[in-house]
């Protein structure tokens, strides 16, 4: 983990409200593991002080990139920044996904929204190819599908309005696949909490392991403030653990879903 001033190489619109930000940050790029994130200070923000967390989408040699959706003042201000400008990045942060081993379980990735970006490195570094189940409200919410296909992964898209792929929820197509064959499978998921909850339930039902990436509001990103916690089971009950440090990736069986919001 380092704090570096990173220069923006490019910051361009992907689809609709999604942007791709590429930063020059060699030390961060070299150290990145799949599922880890960056904590970015967005300099145009004056009265909004806190950094914003973003999953690392790709890490190539000298650069790291982020795929983000503009949803508020921080991401809006970020979208207005251009090549050559600088921002402060802390990273790589957090405990990421376990990269599948050759000959081990077949990885099934389940993604909603920018969850696709959070799992790209996992697919890239996995010696074992698998399938990606990606869901969104509309066609524009299905991100970086081509990149996953290029890696040789099968992608099954679902949209709630039926404008692309199958109509429905991403968990329906996951269910269909597990009903077909659930032997030697492992789930990896990143997306809205409701989706993660549903994935955890499916994992339980089919007795397959699942690693899920949880989002919480973060202040420090490095483990000191205790704002980013989720309830996690322990030998004697449960405790709050930090999504920025023990997470964002947790074993779905460890999460106390009854208490999680």
């Amino acid at each position: 983990m380092v704090e570096r001033t990173a220069q923006i190489i490019s910051n361009e619109r992907d689809t609709d409200a999604y942007f791709r930000l590429v930063l020059r940050a060699p030390e961060i790029a070299r150290a990145t593991q799949p599922g880890q994130f960056l904590h970015l200070r967005i300099p145009p923000l004056r009265e909004a002080l806190l950094r914003r967390p973003f999953s690392i989408f790709q890490a190539n040699g000298e650069t790291v990139s982020v795929l983000y959706k503009t949803i508020g003042k921080g991401t809006d201000a970020l979208a207005r920044m251009g090549a050559g400008e600088e921002l402060s990045a802390i990273g790589p942060l957090g405990h990421g996904f376990t990269v599948p081993a050759r000959g081990g379980e077949t990885p099934l990735l389940v993604a909603g929204g920018y969850g696709m970006a959070a799992m790209y490195l996992l697919a890239e570094r996995s010696p074992q190819k698998g399938m990606v189940f990606v869901g969104g409200r509309r066609r524009v919410d299905i991100l970086c599908e081509a990149e996953f296909r290029k890696l040789g992964w099968e992608v099954r898209a679902t949209t709630e309005d039926g404008s692309y792929g199958e109509k429905g929820m991403v968990t329906q197509s996951l269910l269909a696949e597990l009903k077909r064959d659930s032997g030697k499978r492992k789930l990896f998921a990143c997306g809205p909490t409701a989706m993660l909850k549903a994935v955890a339930k499916i994992a339980d039902e089919f007795k397959v392991p699942a690693e899920i990436s949880m989002d919480e509001h973060m202040c420090c990103g490095v483990g000191v403030c205790l704002t980013c916690v989720i309830p996690v089971k322990t030998a004697s009950g449960w405790e709050y653990q930090r999504t920025c440090t023990e997470g964002p990736v947790f074993d779905s069986r460890e999460v106390m879903w009854e208490v999680a919001r």
Binding site: H217, C219, V224, T227, Y240
Partner: protein, 317 residues
Amino acid sequence: MKCGMRNGERESPKMNLSVSIGKLTLQNPVMVASGTFGYGAEYARLLDLNQLGAVVVKGIRLSPVRGNPTPRTAEVTSGMLNAIGLQGPGVDGFIEKYWSFLKSLRVPAIINIWGTTVEEYAEVARRFGDLGGVGALELNVSCPNIKEGGAQFGTDPKLLARVVAACRKVTTLPLITKLSPNVTSVVPYALVAEAEGSDALSITNSFPAMAIDIESRRPKLANVTGGLTGPCIKPIAIKLVWDARRAVKIPIIGMGGIQCAADAIEFLLAGANAVAIGTANFYEPQTALAVIAGIQDYLKCHDITDIRELTGAVRLS
């Protein structure tokens, strides 16, 4: 700073940056505030902790504390709300997991402690006194996010007197009483703490506050209310330090929204002997180090050789 400085001009053999809190001497007056720096180890990868005046750890009571449900934070204009609920490992958990690292630092560790009864405060104080190697104890009588304990001790002078006296009895460690801003006047509390043997005051803790999401109409914090911190509280904190300075002789550690050396110097001029960096650590972990360097530049620019000259040096006429 107003005057131009060249690199390397900062160090001056005659410049004194060190300040005292009771029998504890700090190499410089800049610490990091409780709850914004974990137990020290987390930030050690991003900055050299041995450059700091002191490290103040997250509040600890006797037994482990689970803390509040989430969301525990909300960003507001020039600040933030938090309602952590003093999550922590308890005295034993702290000693087992974090003490060996803190002990290995060359700068003092100040332990922020709290309890739900006067007896618990005293017991925690005794445990840390017996531990050996602790720099000082900061009595948190002002956490706004705990239903029982915390703030009630900071808003009742009689209870405050009992807490300070009980801790004073069981330990010779320097005691710092961290006052609540949630009172009509901070002066009676400052006086009580001084009279009962507190070696210093910390001013201020966070301000009780609230934010609402207008779409869902729900409070932004699960705890409904929380503590407001960051640059938005700085002018109020400066006034609290100024009020207390005129009432007591003991050292004051000023905090509330410090982002740069100029902010820290303002606290010193209002009457603080030292300062602590809180919320700013979250967005700029290097803040404390930048503040130390900036204070040195200021002293040099103004031909001041001893930082202690700044304390309370605001000019009223």
